[in-house]
Symmetry: C2
Subunit: 342 residues, 2 copies
């Protein structure tokens, strides 16, 4: 009887999660973050892996499956027990075909790759794809700092500057390519953006552009601790943590570049607010989360001179779900009653 009871319990702990648990994977240019969540969106297991820097899409898919398997293991299940897996991906996404095209920050990923079907085979569960920024915005809107607002702008300040728009409690992505806050023009004829255009917000505030600017200032003879800190911490690029440390040490170059970034964010976000008059702006992304509250205030202050309705500004909040927001939002794509988001 003892053995039978134990067996019954074991079956029941397997069957209940299999009915209800979902996986979520945030696929980024530098990291893959996987979570397993319960119906209340609580994280039962999580795993973070570096995104492969070589190989191709199949290697990335394999790394994603491994990360999800580790997260599922931490939750006491196998990936095949999940009712579904959602993925927030960069690039151009076809939610019906499950393909991702032109994911430029991922290795060898120019052509179309059937990430959805391939990953579904690897993990043994259905997979739904969504745009990474929309997925993170959706998570903040439903479960995070935006949950009390019907309209909001998500600002993801990281390698680039992503934007997500929620209007009337629903994501707005236009014909599928909306939310490109990073490519709002803040200075006609201004600095060259990594996208090749001039004067985009991201040309001043994207971490990739900020690093390029720092290297240029060093070439011009300016002194900075940024690259020493990078070497000291064993990094090959200026991460959010490196920027944060340099600011703490009052590094002139870091302060100048971050000040320009905040000024550009203030103008670009205020422009979006002047157009959309949303109730709230939610600031997330690697740099946004790392620099935190003081910089949320700096961004709010930088918006003020440009806000047309300056007597009724939107609330400006930090993203509440932190680093896991993208993966938790991806798991929302796997809710049983939910159509996939573009």
């Amino acid at each position: 009887m003892g053995e039978a009871a134990v067996h019954a319990v074991a079956v029941s702990t397997r069957i209940i999660p299999a009915m209800d648990l979902r996986g979520g994977i945030d696929l980024g240019g530098t990291k893959i973050q996987a979570v397993v969540v319960d119906p209340a969106h609580e994280v039962l297991g999580e795993e973070r892996r570096a995104t492969p820097t070589g190989g191709g899409p199949a290697d990335v898919a394999a790394a994603m499956a491994e990360a999800l398997a580790a997260a599922a293991g931490a939750a006491g299940i196998a990936t095949g027990d999940l009712i579904g897996v959602g993925v927030g991906s960069p690039g151009e996404i076809d939610v019906v075909q499950g393909t991702v095209t032109q994911a430029r920050n991922l290795p060898g990923w120019r052509a179309s790759y059937a990430l959805g079907p391939e990953l579904a085979t690897l993990v043994g569960a259905p997979v739904a794809l969504g745009n990474d920024v929309n997925v993170a915005t959706h998570a903040e809107a439903e479960l995070g700092a935006g949950s009390e607002f019907g309209s909001m702008l998500g600002v993801f300040w990281g390698t680039g500057v992503g934007g997500g728009i929620v209007l009337d409690d629903a994501l707005w992505a236009g014909r599928g390519a909306g939310g490109e806050l990073g490519h709002v023009v803040v200075r006609i004829g201004g600095r060259r953006c990594p996208c090749g255009r001039r004067g985009c917000l991201e040309a001043y505030a994207g971490r990739a552009a900020m690093e390029a600017r720092a290297r240029k200032l060093v070439e011009e003879g300016r002194e900075t601790k940024l690259f020493q800190l990078m070497d000291k911490h064993g990094r090959d690029r200026l991460t959010s943590g490196i920027w944060s440390r340099a600011l703490e040490r009052d590094d002139d170059v870091a302060r100048e570049i971050v000040t320009e970034a905040v000024e550009a964010l203030g103008a670009g976000v205020a422009s979006a607010v002047n157009l959309l008059d949303v109730e709230a702006v939610i600031v997330g992304g690697g740099l946004g989360l790392r620099l935190g509250e003081p910089y949320r205030e700096h961004i709010e202050a930088a918006m003020r001179p440009h806000l047309f309705s300056d007597d009724d500004p939107p609330a400006v909040r930090l993203a509440a779900l932190g680093d896991l927001g993208g993966a938790i939002g991806a798991a929302l794509l796997a809710l049983p009653d939910r159509a996939a988001d573009g």
Copy 2:
């Protein structure tokens, strides 16, 4: 029997319009445009008056009632026969109270004025108010150049630069103050805008700012035919017609200022498209309509370098309802089954 028949006809021609005809008034800083339309939105009568430059809101309301009476007369009815009258107004509008506040381009109109109730008394018909730009956008979206699109951006290039946003076939104005395309920032730290801020689109492309720029260039010793043309045509400001004539005569200053305006419009409109990914951009407003097709093309070309999804640009069209669009749109506010628009 002859007399009875005539009487019956007279009654019937009075009763049918009384069931169906609507009034629309576009209240602008320089003109009041009134129309009377039938159920198919055909204009049966119209009248244009100069907006009073002195006095106060009551004088403006009286001029609006006179203009509408003339339009109704042309349609063979009295204003009291209209089933309703819609008004597109500048300023801050309370659609429930029918009040307009802070209409800065109108004489003595800082405080709140109950335009809706006062005008309703003067014309003997119910009055609904709406924001002038939203009303004109709605007209183009339902009846004009945007009717085939579910999402569009209306660009009203005139004294200022107004913007109207239609998403999922409905106006989007956020908390009531959205669509301020003219105050999207196109150059951080740039030219002073009539609104007092710096670098707004309107600081480069609004006709008021363009005139101020022309006066400044003249002060600096530049030569232009703009002000001679203004005097010759008996104007006290640089109207759209004056700008058009100066361009036809290859006036350097006019060309330089209009080129800057188009460049700013390209950047500002592209920024809005990058955010919203709308299907279409509809260009109207006094300058937009007067400069017409060649400048629609110039604006489209000026957008191109800033469009993030440049392989899938929105359609760019001229507003189809012309000068009457605002008034025809206002009349939409008086449709029986329609809630008033903010």
